[in-house]
């Protein structure tokens, strides 16, 4: 059994008197790929943000000590005119790298990480001029700079074409296998969950299930979460 990296007990988030999500309990072990699924507005991103400490929460969240986290946000909105190159963005995360004086070592680190995600040609490009797929690769590279033990991916392929989506998830799977990076993945696409996740949490303002996708995602759970249409869903595996 791999080491436990995170455990959440009865996690709930209430903002302005409104409970956005409640009763989330799960544990996560090193090397896992956990998918967090549910319909729009179910509280998936809320849970992610509570785990990351951006949103206040009740219940218990226990992280492994001194854990390093990488995060690829959902629909990364920023000013497209912001004058930042890919290299400058990544240099934010390189330890000891100064913004003004960029030693060769920093450039090598950045170049290697961009190579890992297949984006080495984008180094000098302005962030605002990247396509959706290119931006996702760069954001993944950004999340990987610090050699994270765990990666949070919040609907990371929103707005990316099907081929780009497939490539992205293959890359994630490779990173998980080669570097044993634990992954928490938010998605509302059941295909993705069945294909890539080893465990799944299904939520709709409260936790509906937790476990291996084929066991946990019963017809009842899917009906409760997604409505009548999905109960007849059949995946291809």
């Amino acid at each position: 059994m791999e080491r436990e990296i995170l455990s959440a007990k009865n996690l709930s988030v209430t903002i302005g008197g409104r409970t956005l999500v409640k009763g989330v309990t799960f544990d996560l072990h090193e090397g896992d790929i956990l998918a967090l699924i549910g319909p729009n507005g179910a509280g998936k991103t809320t849970i992610l943000k509570a785990l990351l400490g951006i949103l206040p929460s009740e219940g218990e969240i226990k992280w492994q000590k001194k854990i390093s986290i990488g995060y690829v946000p959902q629909r990364f909105t920023f000013d497209a005119n912001f004058p930042l190159t890919v290299q400058e963005l990544l240099s934010f995360r390189v330890k000891g790298a100064r913004f003004w004086f960029r030693p060769k070592k920093t450039c090598t680190i950045i170049s290697n990480i961009l190579q890992t995600v297949g984006a080495e040609k984008l180094m000098k490009r302005r962030i605002g001029k990247l396509s959706a797929g290119e931006l996702q690769r760069v954001l993944l590279a950004y999340a990987l700079v610090d050699n994270p033990q765990i990666l949070f991916l919040d609907e990371p392929v929103a707005g990316v074409d099907i081929e780009g989506e497939e490539n992205f998830y293959n890359l994630i799977t490779r990173l998980n296998k080669e570097k044993n990076i634990t992954i928490i993945l938010v998605s509302h696409d059941l295909n993705i969950v069945y294909k890539y996740a080893r465990e799944v949490i299904c939520v709709d303002k409260k936790m509906l299930c937790f476990g291996a996708p084929h066991k946990a995602l019963t017809a009842e759970v899917l009906k409760e979460a997604f409505g009548r249409d999905v109960t007849s869903f059949k995946h291809k595996h």
Partner: protein, 263 residues
Amino acid sequence: MLEFFQSEIFRIVAVGISIGITAAMLGVFVILRKLSYFPDALAHAALAGIALGLLSKINVVLGAAIFALLMALGIAYLERKKILGLDTIIVIFFSTALAMAVLVAEFLNVSEEDLMGYLFGDILKITNETVLLAVGIALLAVIILIIKFKLWTKISFHSELALIEGVKVNRENYLFMLLLALFVAISIRVVGTILIGPLLVIPAAAANNVSGGFRGVFILSIIFSLVSVILGIFLSTIFHVSLGPIIVLIAAAIFVISTILRR
């Protein structure tokens, strides 16, 4: 040699360069954080501070700095509370401060010439104390920006991402506003209330037009600002026109050229 350092032209150039460099550096963060109206609001608060300084006979620069800072903190607090949009909050503070400044100026019978001096700047009236304060604030700004550059760039680009990475975003925002308030207080006598905003915004906007990366924007903003200030001092001395407006017009001309050359 000592005579040169005490000469009027040295004082003007020293203040001009100090204010030009500080404005260029802070201006990059002002435009990228979409805070272009913010310095105007601070400048009007500073005007109220000057008026109250004259009334209570405390140092006007100190009065301006305190008032600008109070307004910066007030705006930042309300913005964090998300009660209203930033633009609305700024207009409320801005107009309240201006109303206070006008009433106090009326009460004190401040001459029209003096009032114009505070609105559009009058570099001939700067004192040695102003020169030292301007140089001091410029040095402070350079030191803080060297230390905070990476953090502030990250916050300007994506504050949520910075927050996730453990950056104390609110604390850094307050420090930025403090520096901005100090800059506004010291530059009001030189470029005037109305022209502080453009001095911060235009060189940085021109630099953003023509540079590919953030470092380039920063360096070009300083160059454009210094060219505007030094050329402005030169032209205003020759043609005996107000310094603030001429600086802004030169910066605007650079902006037009940069827009044509836009990458």
